[in-house]
């Protein structure tokens, strides 16, 4: 009867030890929960990335991470975080939305863009045109959008971050085209929005309107959304057109420091976003049609990204804060040109 007794004493010893470890807080494996509050088009990207990160983190530390996702319009999501949605990390469409979180709710420092490389934007994207197969209206560049009889689909810049990129990209092109003549630029953008029959609330609403309801000749879209749309609905119906100039969109990510400090998951949250910059992270990014930062991934996915002249918000508009104030605030340029 000796072996069983020995066995039992060992079990007792082990369980005492492990409970001791638990009491002193040196548990063998921890469970972490992260809430990633993101915008609409990143659903597929983060579904795959979250699984990859959880695997990586378990291999590295033995801890399990469960990452929960919340998706919606970028502005709406920022507002939810300000109103108390406990996001550990935010991955939104534009820096302005995270600026507002920093400014209004003070959940992260004003210089949050220094948290990670490349202004905390691990991937970039741009604005492209999606047209019907064969491009029946011959749409090649921004100038074609204001031709009579061309119907343009974009979401509402007041409610959608992506739509603000669309609007500013058109503005940037017109500035170059009309040699900085503000009156003509304004007239161009007014004409453009006169050709818009439907302003959906979010980017996904617009792509449904264009692709499934069959409305419009051209859909202004995030590059990654455009690729996804082509993949989901078939390249036999739609095709992609790259304009001569577009904006470099840098969707930023940030750790919401005040929340993570409270939850005690600062390190995981940081590692999670850092992993976006790793080779595996960048590969997933490229796979979901975002332009990767790393050279290896950029080379691997080079074929799917047509070359285009890209300008930044900072160069053309002096940053998001200024652009927001001039164009989209109550009574701003967008309000003026859509009023008749």
């Amino acid at each position: 009867m000796t072996p069983p007794r020995f066995h039992r004493s060992r079990t007792v010893l082990l369980s005492t030890l492990s409970s001791l470890l638990l009491v002193t807080g040196v548990a063998l494996a921890k469970d972490f929960r992260l809430l990633n509050v993101s915008y609409d088009p990143t659903r597929e990207l983060y579904t795959e990335f979250n699984a990859a990160f959880a695997r990586y983190w378990r291999e590295k530390t033995g801890d399990t991470v469960v990452i929960q996702q919340s998706h919606g319009g970028s502005g709406k999501q920022a507002r939810s975080v300000i109103d108390g949605l406990r996001a550990d990390v935010v991955t939104l469409a534009l820096a302005y939305d995270i600026d507002v979180i920093a400014e209004r709710a003070k959940l992260l420092p004003a210089d949050w863009q220094k948290q990670f490389p490349h202004n905390s934007a691990p991937y970039t994207s741009t604005i492209v045109f999606v047209v019907r197969k064969g491009n029946p209206k011959g749409i090649r560049d921004w100038g074609d959008l204001v031709k009579p009889g061309v119907s343009v689909i974009t979401p509402n810049p007041k409610t959608s971050g992506g739509a603000r990129w669309n609007y500013l990209a058109a503005w940037a092109w017109a500035l170059r085209e009309f040699h900085q003549d503000e009156t003509r630029v304004r007239e161009y953008v007014r004409q453009l929005f006169r050709n818009v029959p439907v302003l959906d609330i979010g980017a996904r609403g617009s792509s449904t309107t264009f692709a499934q309801r069959g409305i419009g000749d051209v859909f202004l879209s995030w590059e990654n959304e455009a690729h996804l749309l082509l993949k989901e609905l078939g390249t036999d119906k739609l095709e992609l057109v790259m304009p001569s100039l577009s904006l470099l969109a840098e969707p930023p990510v940030a750790v919401v420091e005040r929340v993570t400090r409270k939850q005690g998951n600062e390190a995981v949250a940081r590692a999670y976003l850092e992993y976006l910059y790793s080779e595996e992270g960048q590969d997933i990014v490229g796979k979901h049609f975002y332009r990767p930062r790393s050279e290896a991934a950029a080379a691997k996915y080079a074929a799917q990204f047509a070359p285009v002249k890209l300008v930044t918000i900072d160069e053309v508009f002096g940053g998001w804060q200024a652009a927001q104030k001039v164009h989209f605030a109550e009574g701003g340029v967008f309000d003026q040109i859509t009023r008749r």
């Binding site: 502005g75 029959p197 439907v198 959906d200 069959g214 409305i215």
Partner: protein, 277 residues
């Protein structure tokens, strides 16, 4: 001091009224009051600017206009449906009777998605209407369709019980005095049905005014053209303009309250002037 209520042998007045008021206060009044409190952070001129900008006025026009038209159509159609359900026997009657309430129970997002899918030019109904030059989805007409759907049960459900309780003697007397069917309807039935029709209309109208979920899918949300007032509240929120959003909300709340008070007073007045035997 006189008592708040007349004497009664029944117990529980204090308890039930007290509890009702407490619960009403906690769930409805305090939260609603927060809207008005937030509005007071605006000066009068800021408030006026927020609730009377051209885009907002255009949205009132659409919200009130489409809700009014939808209420009117529901009045007519609701009367016909109620009449048919009470007076006639036909195949599928019980099913129809049960389904009339569906718009009330169906989530508005489902209604919005289903209606947009149907009435868009690629949809079952839109494909028929589009060649005739009628586009429904993404036009004010689409807003009207969604609001009609939402308000459908109300007139039917307020008129139905009145029609059921109607004494046949009234119509018989009219007929024996030589009135034809149409005269009987206009002179005898309509006056009796009028309060119920009005109530049903007001309920459908009030509900349509605030409707959001089903409308945003089908309306197209074009500034000055197809934006409803609840959407502008959301738009203001997206701009972090909480005070502006609550200013609009306060205007809508006052209108809702006034409408409902009017209905209740109408009932009260009606019951005083037609005191039960």
């Amino acid at each position: 001091m006189r008592h708040l209520r007349q004497r009664s042998v029944l117990p529980g007045f204090g308890l039930t009224l007290g509890y009702s008021l407490l619960y009403l206060g906690l769930i409805v009044l305090i939260p609603l009051a927060s809207t008005f409190l937030k509005t007071t952070t605006l000066s009068w001129s800021e408030f006026w600017a927020a609730v009377s900008s051209p885009r907002v006025v255009a949205s009132y026009r659409l919200s009130f206009g489409a809700s009014f038209l939808a209420g009117l159509v529901n009045c007519l159609a609701g009367l016909v449906v109620a009449w048919v359900l009470v007076r006639y026997e036909f195949w599928g009657k019980r099913l129809v009777d049960a389904l009339v309430d569906l718009p009330f129970a169906l989530p508005t997002a489902v209604a919005g998605i289903a209606l947009t899918t149907l009435y868009a030019r690629t949809g079952w109904i839109g494909a028929w209407l589009e060649p005739l030059g009628i586009s429904v989805a993404f036009t004010p007409l689409g807003v009207f369709v969604a609001l009609t759907f939402i308000g459908l049960p109300f007139v039917v459900r307020t008129v139905q019980p009145v029609l059921q309780d109607l004494e046949p003697e009234l119509e018989e007397a009219a007929a024996s005095l030589g009135a034809n069917r149409w005269q009987t309807f206009r002179r005898i039935l309509l006056p009796v049905l009028r309060p119920a029709l009005l109530t049903g209309f007001a309920l459908a109208f009030a509900r349509a005014l605030g409707e959001y979920g089903s409308v945003v899918f089908i309306s197209g949300n074009m500034p000055m053209k197809t934006e409803i007032t609840p959407l502008l509240i959301i738009t203001k929120l997206e701009q972090y303009d909480y005070a502006g959003a609550t200013a609009l909300a306060a205007v809508m709340l006052v209108i809702s309250f006034a409408l409902l008070l009017a209905i209740n007073l109408l009932h009260w007045w009606g019951s005083r002037h037609h005191a039960p035997a």
